[in-house]
Subunit: 632 residues, 2 copies
Amino acid sequence: MEKYIDDLCDLKEEVYETFRRRPDLLPPIIEDLTKEQHRELVRKCLLAILEAGYSPLRFYTGNIKKYFYLGELLALVDLSLTVKMGVQYSLWGGSVLSLGTERHRKAYFDDIDKFRLPGCFAMTELRHGSNVAALQTEAVLDVATDEWVINTPDEGATKWWIGNGAEDGQAASVFARLKVPSPDGSGALDDHGVHAFVVPLRDAGGRALPGVEIKDCGYKIALQGVDNASFRFHDVRVPRENLLDRFATVDRSGQYRSPYSASRRFAATLGELTGGRVGLTCSSLAVLKGATTIAVRYGAARQQFGPPDAPEISVLDYTSQQEKLMPMLATAYALHFTTRFLVAQYAEAKRTKEEEIIADVHSLSAGLKAYATGYTANALSICRECCGGHGYAAVNRFGAWRSDHDIFQTFEGDNTVLLQQVAGLLLKKYKERFATAPVAATYRYLRQWAADSLPANPLVTHETDARHLRDPAFLIRALRYRTGKLLFTVAQRLRKHTARLGAFHAWNKCLTHLLALARAHVESVMFERFMDAVNGCPDPECRKSLKAMADVFALQRIHADVLFRNDDYVAAEKAKAIGRLLEHLWRELREVALPLVDAWNLPDHILRAPIGLSTHSMHPYQSYLRAGGWES
Amino acid sequence: MEKYIDDLCDLKEEVYETFRRRPDLLPPIIEDLTKEQHRELVRKCLLAILEAGYSPLRFYTGNIKKYFYLGELLALVDLSLTVKMGVQYSLWGGSVLSLGTERHRKAYFDDIDKFRLPGCFAMTELRHGSNVAALQTEAVLDVATDEWVINTPDEGATKWWIGNGAEDGQAASVFARLKVPSPDGSGALDDHGVHAFVVPLRDAGGRALPGVEIKDCGYKIALQGVDNASFRFHDVRVPRENLLDRFATVDRSGQYRSPYSASRRFAATLGELTGGRVGLTCSSLAVLKGATTIAVRYGAARQQFGPPDAPEISVLDYTSQQEKLMPMLATAYALHFTTRFLVAQYAEAKRTKEEEIIADVHSLSAGLKAYATGYTANALSICRECCGGHGYAAVNRFGAWRSDHDIFQTFEGDNTVLLQQVAGLLLKKYKERFATAPVAATYRYLRQWAADSLPANPLVTHETDARHLRDPAFLIRALRYRTGKLLFTVAQRLRKHTARLGAFHAWNKCLTHLLALARAHVESVMFERFMDAVNGCPDPECRKSLKAMADVFALQRIHADVLFRNDDYVAAEKAKAIGRLLEHLWRELREVALPLVDAWNLPDHILRAPIGLSTHSMHPYQSYLRAGGWES
């Protein structure tokens, strides 16, 4: 873990140094740009990064850790920039490389890498986002000319929200239903479902090609630096070779071949796109660190009220402020360690291509993307509120971050849908192990699994002393117990309801339960990765603080989840003891909160918020007064 | 309740008709304005409202219900407009009228009403917001010239965030420490604490007057249509009469007189400003209704996934979507009825000047402002997420609302501070009743109060049938039990800790407990007002839906609060039964969700979001495609 960070330290120095020398590349934080101005700035900034010698697509294929870390670093510069790069490299580049074959790589790699061929990932349609299998755009093979004919059959199939589309995109990976003449010679078309095709969009002069209709999606809540568009295709013809044909091929005669079943092929196609989720998780984490840094520094410096005839106290000394910010600090660290783990696993999956690791990465990337982005979205509002009126000044960045980051909860997989994938994978895993056993055995296993996680001694339920409550064995067991219990009971409920309602409606009936299961699983994983970091920390002072944060992370979840009480896994007096212990740990963390955010080492010229700079505790308000037009 | 609504129906028709005729007064939702453009638009809009014959300051003094309803109506037009009007009428006008005397009314009323004298409420300083008593700006009487000399003693005392200040404000109520020569003739100054003074800021040409330094606060997260500024005063002289002297006077000789103690005078001064909180609650409610309407309509029309070989289903049919939106619908109705009650109580307090009602309004306005604005802020994010990618289009309004509304949680009383006031007033009320009794008696009373709220029969703890769970007697008792229990226990804890730590630190130690008490109290009040509405509803179908929403409101809170489990007020099986009942009620409400939002009757030309119009269920995406530049 530490080694990984060391390797990339230089990258951080270098990249942030670029912006120290070129402050003109940073988006203004004291005024709003028009969407055209912001898009221009993002383009300029992206080109400057390329000119500085970074090669994102090469990182993407050859050094994925570096690729993700670059995304994390740039997130604090401008989220529009990160998203624009994500579109160009993870989505457009990623789809060409992962879904295509060697000839696509050869044809496009360099031009994509150098942004000479800006491109799009044209999947989402007006009526279909999450349900990718139901996309309506069509690619019909014309055997006579050996071309695909791309069409938008109705207005609901208009491609929508396509990044890089409104201004820059010269081509796109278009997701469309692949249709070829039926081999039975009837003249009917066989629909093989959704595949990706490279489709040119604009000529060198930037004009839309014949048959391609493009509209700017206009102002979004934010991320104005990304040029999103909607498209319609009218008899657009592209060569047969433009099918990205790693998972299925079509030959000159129009014969369709795939080594996979339709459902496995679909899963493999979408599976190649998990990298985007890892990237979003990294960017989201960066924003969470930035916001927490500002709120903690401001909270330590801001003083308001106090005992009679005594100086005012820091707002961070109020329990109410600690309740908001200390669990956030702990969660940011938990996400930090878990994200590092995910990135390492992702690299490992790419390297080894081991099925087990790939499945793990699929599940964790979905779960962590949903958890991190949902948590950060909420945390940004809390941080703003913790900084009061001054938090509402545009220069202090919470507003732009919240508005930019908001859509991270939806794109590259709606969080509610992703969490269902996590739940589905958990259920699958446990069923698979017992595929050959009779049903009863499966359930016996699950029951056993839940029972294993029970406290060894029933007295433990009532144990309230801090040493026990902070014992990693107790915390890990408790979190695992919750996951096991939710998994066991939801499997039972699904079985019962499926018989009566069918799988789809049974799933819907259990949906809140399934989402709870997914979140519980992610939190278990996060705590275990956090404990790895605690155990691996050589410095005793530092380990103490990490341990306190890990405990806050776990205890907070145990305290808030009524499941533990309903199952009497935690007795009432134990729940109350946990509440008291949490307040005690917040106070302990408050004393080290400044060094804990300083440890993230976000440079002032990148963080920029006048109330959150590293110098703020020494000279509170100095930079802020200056930003407000006052000499100081 | 209904009568009140009827009285004001005409106002709604009229006001919204104004904007049907003058769409140029509506802020654009497809692009961003610069702050200068937005301020100009808001000014134009305010003047149009005045020209249409509305007289906000007359409403404020003579028909307060109309005043607040106007604010609620305009909130959906443009929150900048509502806030600008709040500054001009509730704050600037309100402070002159409520803190001043007849001669101030005569001098300023008409000019304020007609916006010929735009003014500011200059309370907040850079270093002090919530802690008003610690403001540092000074007003020193110069007996020789019979003038106040206003000064900003240091940079921390710079007035900050002053609305109407950057462009329009010609005068301000400046809150400053009143200092007069000590009557002992020593030449020393006596500091009588914070008072308000009318201070001219600009000449007729808009230039800052000598000694007044003004800087534009610049871009905020949003609300760009409000021109906030920071001020410094350098020996600015105003006549002695400019002291707003309802609660304290200073005569020609410099002698200070007040019928109140310093603390009562301070409380009376701030007490006059509760109207602003009522207004914010109304505006916040309007936004919550708007957002819920859009999310429910979109959710009903949007279809995604479905059973195999069957049409896709509405996203509103997913339990996960119902879990988010049905409690929100219920809470919006709860806030609707409680806000109407608050407005009526406020009017009653103004009319009767009865101490008991004034105290109630003080507590409820603080609690409801905090609750409503906190709830709405979070709901806006949930609604955006429920509308997926299309929710992120600027035209669908969630982003601007969230950014504009965000600061409602902070201004006119930080929510965390306001909730503490509620807790403090609850504690005061219970202590007062037993002021003369020995301490033990006080606590016996509290204990009794908590015991009264226990279920009569211990078996009730385990009762799980729906009739019982939906019995208003159970629900009201449970919510009251919680408030009583929290009050009783926090009083005990405060007593214990005060002995050791002093009042200030004891309070801080109990802060999360006190905040829970305040929220519990507000929720009790909301549910009881909701049940009044249910009982008063003449239509059986309508009453059934209102009752279902009231039940969801109460059961959701009982289900989520571990206090009920920890006290074994609700047994485990009962908690689970409540969870199941909630899912059942969400499904029931989903069937009537469209008519329930339609009942708010927000006209399409005001709501404007293409995915949330009243026609959306018949023609989904039609308006939205048009907004996206497509013929449809």
